[in-house]
Symmetry: D3
Subunit: 178 residues, 6 copies
């Protein structure tokens, strides 16, 4: 598939990432000035940096429609940001709403991302059938690429290693092209 | 993925199932008081019971919008019911409409279920590429979980063994949680 | 899965295909009367014919909403046509719009096609994670089956060999049945 | 407009109505066996009968998605019913959901009904600008006509006198015609 | 409202119209080479010409999804065409589908057109409450303006005199502007 | 209509308004530090204050998806704000996008507002048929009421005097109630 190879060569090699964690429990600790451990957020940051990209922003918000929108809009409005990766709020409890909220503002949804991610999750022994319990997805707004991941560190690790880091420069290149 | 494991431990172990078969040919036999063989319906019931859950209702309806809605609404309105599993009407002939009709009343669609189910169906030698000919899906209404399966016994067997029975307690637990 | 087998036996064996290539660069060459190489279009035609079906029409259009609609509507309106296969315009650059445009006129989308196609693409060493960058899909209009494929020859080859040719007679049979 | 006149002459003169009141407060009284005054429901029944049509069913339900669906589906499934008129649940408080719920099952929405109704409401001195606070609408399911009215007696009176009773035979005739 | 006045002065004074009649009964006469009277089509043409615009095309099609699409797409693809006016297929019988079909290809729907048209229809003594039985609407595709009117000559006359002819140059100007 | 009257008496009498002007031309003047005349914005502020409500914020943004979202989200996230009134970006030129963008984040759209507003605009001699050229609408997010008005001072005056100021306390009361 020479088209993909050619694109990958032209694509920007170093991208600026913005990381958003959506977690009411962690946000409440933050507000109370208690120590907050954001394992998935930390893992995303670490993976981004160790793969040669830059981390230029981070936000932690509760599972609240307006707070989620505010965090994403602020990142999208930042001209330095190339890619946004969020974790949390992609499941089926009543408070999970990240996907529904952000879908309302996407220019285009990358519908295949969630599908391939769920296929790969199913291959993991510790996940198997639980793979179908996440709405993880991706999309494009304003020439920026957004990945909306589950809150679990294992899910975040899988998505970054197998799908995001190998393809993100390529997708940013495509999203920006006419 | 400790989150999934923790949830699974908290989840209800014995659930009450309601089974709905959508099949015009079988329904017409029923009306004419001819013997009706509902192989897929029987298989669903058997799998539910042998896995330790309870069967508390069963309905057989034709491929008719209002009859389908009536059967599902009656099951959803029953406070004893935890899970609804239907079979039939998920294909692409003009009479197949179960998915379209029930989508109109879901609170949330579990979009990953159909995707992982089609991936697993593709792995079956007897199905292979025919896997893409079903719209099988799942969803949540009123804290109850609904699985909409194809009419073929093999499809029903696969969905129950690999996706529904391993995860349904977990999903009911999530659907009910805040 | 005897149902699938029975259907396959009843289904029409020889189908009439219409091939549409969506590619602004190729279209511009055509307009300037420069030689046009349409590798994917040629591959689709070849695969169709070598599998015993008939090619009864071909069109090459640019990535333009009205030109794309015109080409598809003209093929759908042709009573001889059973199946339409297009390539191109399924990616995420701003000019890619084949899927969005044709979705607006489908009677039913075969949502599983794109999902299984992306799973199969992921298995290809040369594609891997790039599998999630295509919106390839399928649908039914007026009892005709439409496949909307990416522009790359490898993608087209995979879709035809693994998903379209093994199942298209079956799907045409279903689409026409009550 | 001779077309409208011709249709009106062919249309059925006596129709069977089913009336549904959606009101949590009245439903709770009913449950407690306290006396229930359903002024709007009574007014609808009276108007229907005094205009020569027949009332063949009545239901009172709370503002609850499944109870609302159940009442409507039961009326739609009754082959004797030609027209369903509901009152209540069309406003903008959090419990108002009749329109959203029933929209999910309509075959076609009669989008002009709510628009003309709001225009007529605006002409009423006691309503004026409050006219825009209702989502009142109409639709067609299974060849039956459904009117979804606000809970206020004045709104119900206006809708019946000016829009429903003069046109309902005509619309039933159209809904049933090919 | 000086903005509207200023726009009206800058707007093109002479526009090229394409007229489409959707009527199965008239189309069948045409096919049988019987004389066809298309009163509404004739009225639209007459009004366009007497108001100083040009008529550059006309088509008569049956109430058939693909034939309707073909007629509109052909007009939209014609670079000479500024405005398309159709009549027929906006009601609630099963064969009425013009609005649903064309909505699928609009860039933007002019949602206020149908609303104001239904208000004006209600003012007509011969229409009154029948005003709510039409889905008449308008929209923009490819910088061209489309009006989808009912099949009755009175409705067509009202729409042209009160809403289309006074505003169409203005709307074409807006649709083309950045 | 005693229900409306009762609500009006219970409703909050003094509300906090946030005003947003969407206008690329004015925004560019602001950026260049040229004097900016925002006639519609000023008129909204004046009407709000002279009717006894409070103005607690104002923003001027260009016709840009992300800037529009940012201004609205910031106002919605402010716990002091009860009502947001915007002007601009509701027409049919390519840059007009306020309605489309904000619709993506509304909890519920008040669909009747735009309809009654267009009816009232039609009554104005200086507007007449131009009334159908605006997408003005209203909605509810997070218990706050949002009005999205056209950019013309006459339109803004009409909407405030006839529809917003007489009803806004009532609608805020309803939006907040269970
Ligand atoms: Mg969470
Ligand atoms: Mg069946
Ligand atoms: Mg291309
Ligand atoms: Mg007709």
């Amino acid at each position: 598939m020479s088209g993909h190879k050619a694109h990958r060569e032209l694509a920007p090699k170093v991208l600026n990432f913005y990381v958003i964690t959506i977690s009411t429990s962690r946000y409440e600790k933050l507000i109370k000035k208690e120590p907050v451990v954001d394992e998935s957020g930390d893992l995303i940051k670490e993976k981004i940096i160790s793969s040669g990209h830059k981390l230029i922003g981070y936000d932690l918000v509760s599972d609240n429609k307006i707070k989620i929108l505010k965090a994403f809009i602020s990142a999208i409005d930042n001209p330095e940001v190339d890619v946004i990766v969020s974790s949390g709020g992609t499941g089926y409890s009543k408070s999970d709403m990240t996907v529904e909220v952000i879908r309302g503002i996407l220019d285009r949804e990358v519908e295949g991302f969630g599908q391939v991610f769920r296929y790969l999750s199913y291959q993991e022994e510790a996940v198997k059938s639980a793979a179908y319990l996440s709405k993880a997805t991706a999309g494009i707004v304003n020439d920026k690429v957004i990945y909306i991941l589950p809150g679990s560190p294992d899910a975040v690790k899988l998505a970054l290693e197998k799908l995001i880091l190998p393809e993100v420069s390529h997708l940013v290149f495509i999203a920006r092209s006419k």
